[in-house]
Structure formats: C-alpha cells, structure tokens
Amino acid sequence: MKLKDIVVVSLLGVVGFVVSLLSGMITQVFGTYGIFVHVSIGSLLCAPVYFVMCHKIAKRGTIFIYYLLSGIIYAVMGFIPMLPIMLVAGILGEACIGGKDNYINNGRIAISYVVSQVIYALHGFFFILFLGVEGLVKTFPNLFTVEKAQMVKGIFFNPKNMVIILLIELIASILGTLLGKYIYNKFFNKSITRAGILS
C-alpha cells in the first residue's frame, strides 16, 4: 500500500468510526431493545464508506487496517476486549474478499462486509462469554449489579434473542451493502456514463 492509501483508509476509518459511534448512541433511545439493534444501524450506515473504500483503494490490507484502527481506538477508550474482536473482523473481512482483484467485485465486498459486521455485532456476546456475570460486575462495577448482569447474560444467551440479533444484523448489513453499492455508483463510480443534459 502507498502512503496515500494508508492516509485515506485511516480517514475513512474515522468516518466509519464516528458514524458507528453516533448510531450506537442513537440506539440507546430503544432502551432494553437497543441491545438488538446496537450495531445494526451502524452496519447500515457505514456500508457506503466500506464500499467506496474497497473500490477506491483496491489493495490487500485495506479492510484489515480499517478495522484495526477502530479496534485500537476502542482499546484506548477503555474497551480493550474490542481490539481482538476488531482484529478478527478485519482478518475475516480480508479473507472473504479472496483474491487481490476482488476488491472491486461488489459481491465479494458485500460478503466481506456482512461477515465482519456480524463479528462486530457479537461483541456484547463475546464480552459475556469471556468475562461471565461476575467478571462483568467486577469490570463495570458502576454499570452492572449482579441482577442486571444476569439479565444481560440471559438476553444474549437466549437462543431466540441470539437469532433475532443475528437476523437483524444480517438484514441491516445486506441492506447496507445495497445502499453502499447505490451510493458508490451514484457519486463515486466515474465509469458509469450518465445521460447528460444535451443527450
């Protein structure tokens, strides 16, 4: 990757990070149900950034750097467990793209985006899986009582809830990929010839 590519990926990473952070905050208004859509709104809104990034910087490592930087910033903000999750999301995203030439393949970009966003969406589940109820109370003593942590665990480990979370995330990511493709073609794809005013 050239210097300019790294700079642009980092800046697009900032856009993605800001959008997902803002949309994560918006989900707070859904209250208890916010847990089901916490990442989904971000997945829907960040897809255009991802699509434009893959098309414009079609080089190996683009997706990995995009997720790695978000992971580092989450870690610096105090959420260290987010770093390995984002690393896995980045590696799987790169793996799903496959060959070097597939960075401009919309289908591959879509698969890569959906897979990495699903990993990202499950971060709450991974937190509880690794920390457990006691760990959650100890790690976030001001946020969780044992009852509240138990309630959150109950929500995440209930197969029905898990299916709902995954389903919402899948739908949001797929809709996001369609939105990403639409925005890329409308504003960034110079190879599409549009009917001019004189044609």
Partner: protein
C-alpha cells in the same frame, strides 16, 4: 532551532495505557485522582480546552446526581442513564484523548516512530487521533451548507437525508487524504533515512513525572485488588 513541547505524546500515550488498564477496576478515590490529574494535564497543555472539558464533566455529573438512579434502571431512560455513566467513567481517558488530538500529525508520527512501530501503523494511528475531533467540525460545516442551500433532512426521505451527510464526509476524507499525503511526502516521509523533527521530543522531568503518577495509580489499584 528545535521547539519544545511541554508534555510529550508518548508520555500521554503511556498514561492512557495505564488508565485503560485500571479505569474499570479502580476504586472511587483512585478514579478521582485519575480525573484530577487528567484535567491538570489538559490545563497545562491547553487551558481553554480543559475548562470546556471540566464544564462538560460537571454538567454530566450534576445530571447523574440530581436524578435518582432507581427511576432509570430500565427502559430507554435507563439506557441513556447507563450511557452517561459510561461517559463519566471513561472521562479521564477521554480527557487524555483530547490532549492527544491537539498534537500535530507530524509530532504524533515522529513520537510513534520513536517506539519502533511499523510506519503504516504510526501514520494510521496518528491520523485517527488527530482527525476524530475534526469530523465534528466537518459535520457542522455540512449542516451549515445544507441550511444555506435550504436542504432539509427528513425521515420521509431517509436515503436522501443520509446521502447529504455521508457523501460530503467521504469526499472530505479523500480531499484531506490528498492534502495530507502531499504534505507528508513533501516532508520526506517516504525517503529512506533517519528521520528528525523540529520538535524536541526527548523526555524531560515533566514526562517522567507524568509516567510516575500513572505508575503510582496503577500500583495503588493492584495493591487494592490483591
């Protein structure tokens, strides 16, 4: 002639790592010490910003203490209450992030390079830190532009509303990327030689003092947990 920075990005970075590792485990007195120290550092680096951060913290803290938590355990108010609690808990770290974002990209890159991080990672992390606060300004610029053109965002046209915000942000990223990479190349970042800096980034007693305070806070937390 080299210019001197009062507190170096690396010492703030080390303090951030220490804070990150103890912020969720520490007792309230240690938390208060962390908070006071981060406000103090912010005041040393940028007095005006420290006042803004302090005022913001006081407002949030006041809100949380005025409203009894038992009313807000569940529902969407409960979720917002929890979010404010998270913000308060992480405020010492965010204050340090605010200090970091005040350093120039070149200073950050040079500091990260000094600890032998890969070049691409140095650039990425430095840009990420530097430009997160910038995007708040970009958003307000976009909002002003929309107002000037009499474009309204509405829930009835969600895609259009999204486009008018997201597309300029993506374009801005490419534009900034172009300018920034030109500036970095002009400064010779790609040239294969030992890099120097106009700013003196060698540690002084202030940096050692910052790290020492961080280590003391870490030590207290470890002792309390054992």
């Amino acid at each position: 002639m080299k210019t001197e920075i009062q507190i170096k990005p690396i010492s703030v970075g080390i303090l951030m790592i220490i804070y990150t590792s103890i912020v969720f485990f520490c007792t309230m007195p240690v938390y208060w010490l962390m908070l006071i120290f981060s406000f103090f550092l912010a005041a040393v680096v940028k007095r005006r910003k420290s006042i803004q951060l302090f005022a913001f913290y006081i407002i949030l803290f006041g809100l949380i203490n005025i409203v009894p938590s038992k009313y807000f355990l569940y529902g969407w108010l409960g979720a917002i209450y929890t979010m404010v609690l998270i913000v308060l808990k992480l405020f010492p770290l965010w204050t340090l992030s605010g200090i970091m974002s005040d350093f120039s990209t070149s200073t950050m890159i040079y500091s990260l390079r000094n600890i032998h991080l890969p070049n691409s990672l140095c650039i990425g992390v430095a840009i990420f830190f530097r430009f997160i606060p910038e995007y708040r300004e970009y958003l307000s610029e976009i909002r002003e532009g929309l107002k000037a053109r009499n474009i309204e965002i509405t829930v009835f046209r969600p895609i259009h509303s999204l486009e008018v915000y997201l597309v300029p942000m993506i374009y801005k990223a490419f534009e900034t990327g172009e300018t920034l990479s030109c500036a970095l190349i002009t400064k010779g970042i790609e040239y294969d030689c030992k890099k120097t800096s106009y700013q003196d980034l060698s540690f002084t007693w202030r940096d050692y003092a910052v790290i020492l305070v961080g280590l003391i806070l870490l030590g207290i937390t470890i002792c309390q947990k054992l």
